[in-house]
């Protein structure tokens, strides 16, 4: 039988290992310093080149442009959502013809650049002026703003239709069958069982789509719409001041970041019941 006669005296905690200076650390520091230098350079450029006259002249124009961008994106997202409903349902229908038409629409609008679509609508349809006048639609296709809105809408409708279809089809079959077993009608099943689950799946892609639209809407500046980008180009063409682009970058970045955080919050809030 062994007996403990003496205890091991308490020892100090092991010394904290000093983290070695790895290559990763050096590179990280270097890049951060580079970022800091860049930020400082841009900041000093803004401060040095600060001109109250320019600010007074172009500041309100920028805010106007910001409003144009926001309203353009907002309206086209809503109209696109409405237009995407029939497309998404046509895409899911068993009717071959409907399905093919919807597929062709989505494929064409997703695989051609927004810029080419915009030119096709603004300049291309402009060459059908007599026909459009006789139908009474010329007032619409004459304005660059309406043309921008139209092309953004039909473009986002294609994307949103795919988002909606993917989300609805991601709801498991068992949910349909369960609702059918309970004797719930098809319409109520869709509205109260399928759609709520689908929209949670679709939430993140919808947020990405809005961000893509904010960024994509800059192209309307090329067809003379004075959105944020258009005002920036106007200011740059008058002043040849590089700052104009920096201000646009700040506006766009803060818009996108705000939306991203809002969306993260919404997602956390709406999926509370799903977290374990």
């Amino acid at each position: 039988m062994s007996v403990i006669n003496e205890l091991i005296p308490p020892r100090p905690a092991p010394a904290v290992l000093e983290r070695p200076l790895t290559a990763a650390k050096v590179v990280g520091m270097g890049v951060l310093v580079l970022w800091a230098i860049l930020a400082m350079g841009l900041l000093s450029m803004v401060i040095e080149g600060w001109d109250p006259a320019k600010f007074e002249r172009y500041g309100p124009r920028y805010l106007n442009g910001l409003w144009t961008t926001i309203s353009l994106v907002g309206i086209s997202i809503v109209l696109g959502a409405i237009l995407s409903l029939p497309i998404a349902f046509a895409r899911m229908s068993k009717n071959r013809v409907l399905n093919a038409i919807a597929y062709a629409y989505v494929y064409v609008f997703r695989s051609t650049p927004l810029l080419a679509q915009l030119f096709l609508i603004y300049y291309g349809l402009g060459s059908f002026r007599p026909q459009l006048e006789s139908v009474g639609l010329w007032w619409f296709f004459r304005e660059a703003w309406y043309c921008g809105l139209f092309s953004l809408t039909i473009n986002t409708a294609a994307y949103q239709a795919e988002i909606l279809r993917g989300a609805i089809q991601s709801v498991p079959r068992g949910q349909h069958e369960g609702a059918a077993a309970l004797g719930i009608s098809k319409r109520i099943t869709f509205l109260k069982v399928i759609l709520p689950q689908a929209l949670i799946v679709a939430l993140r892609p919808y947020g990405n789509e809005i961000i893509l639209m904010i960024k994509g809407s800059a192209v309307v500046a090329i067809v003379t719409v004075f959105d944020l980008m258009g005002e920036t180009r106007y200011a740059f063409s008058r002043t040849f001041d590089y700052q104009t682009y920096l201000w646009a970058a700040i506006f766009y970045l803060s818009m996108v970041e705000a939306l991203r955080h809002l969306w993260a919050f919404l997602e956390r809030r709406l999926t509370r019941h799903l977290t374990r």
Partner: protein, 260 residues
């Protein structure tokens, strides 16, 4: 050598060669080849678009890979630096990035050469500016795709590499990269299609791509709808060819996967 090679390319030219689209169907119309129509100009635009996208792809992929490595590193500062990069370039419109690169690089070069006593006007090559801007945007998106692919590879794979006595970069090349490509390929395919569409923005800074060439044709001939329709059609065809080709690549990447 280069003589018959260029002759071969001339023969296989899909637009204005002997078996070209425009030389067969375009004769006598607005898209005829040569001085009679716009066929050869548009063909040149297609070439520029394709070469810009192909030139951007490797640069963007390499930068994106490095950013993804930085974003999953243990070092906090490296992660922060990578985070700043992706946040900025994913948040800016591609068009704005293009202008910032184009005018910014021009001004920076001008101030540098002014410091050395040269006062001439400096014009940056639109192709290079477009390539840099598109590569920056492409890399920030591809880094996200590659990062999620990295996360899908279990730790055990790295540990197995260590157990075999492989060096870190050998582990990366022999074990991680083949799996990474397979996992990231669908996402990268998407990004390639987006890149192909984004090349249209360089027409704004004066590079003679599809949109610019068809735009010139549209303005001169006053047949805007016809020519912009052709532009859309060409992008559509490019997208179809890409997804067809990338389907093969995907099958190739999955060749070692067990059939389930």
């Amino acid at each position: 050598m280069s003589g018959w090679l260029s002759a071969l390319f001339d023969t296989l030219d899909p637009f204005c060669g002997p078996i070209g689209l425009f030389s067969w169907f375009g004769t006598g119309t607005l898209v005829a080849c040569g001085d009679a129509g716009w066929g050869d100009e548009i063909a040149f635009g297609v070439k520029v678009t394709i070469s810009l996208a192909l030139a951007t792809l490797p640069v963007g992929l390499v930068i994106g890979f490095l950013i993804a490595l930085a974003a999953q590193s243990q070092e906090k500062m490296l992660r922060l630096a990578a985070g700043i990069y992706t946040t900025i370039f994913r948040g800016l419109p591609e068009l704005l990035t293009l202008f910032i690169v184009y005018y910014g690089a021009q001004m920076m070069l001008q101030s540098v050469t002014a410091a050395f006593g040269y006062d001439g006007r400096i014009e940056i090559n639109a192709f290079v500016a477009g390539m840099v801007a598109l590569a920056v945007v492409f890399s920030s998106y591809s880094s996200e795709v590659l990062l999620s692919a990295f996360r899908a590879i279990p730790r055990g794979q790295y540990e197995a590499g260590d157990a075999l006595g492989l060096r870190r970069w050998r582990t990366m090349i022999l074990i991680i990269l083949p799996q990474l490509i397979r996992i990231a390929l669908p996402g990268l395919t998407n990004l390639w299609l987006i890149l192909l569409k984004d090349t249209s923005y360089v027409s704004v800074i004066g590079l003679a791509d599809i949109v610019r060439q068809t735009g010139i044709a549209a303005r001169v001939s006053k047949e805007a709808f016809f020519f912009y329709f052709i532009a859309c059609l060409l992008y559509l065809i490019l997208a179809m060819i890409s997804s067809f080709g990338l389907g093969f690549v995907e099958r190739w990447a999955k060749r070692s996967e067990v059939a389930r």
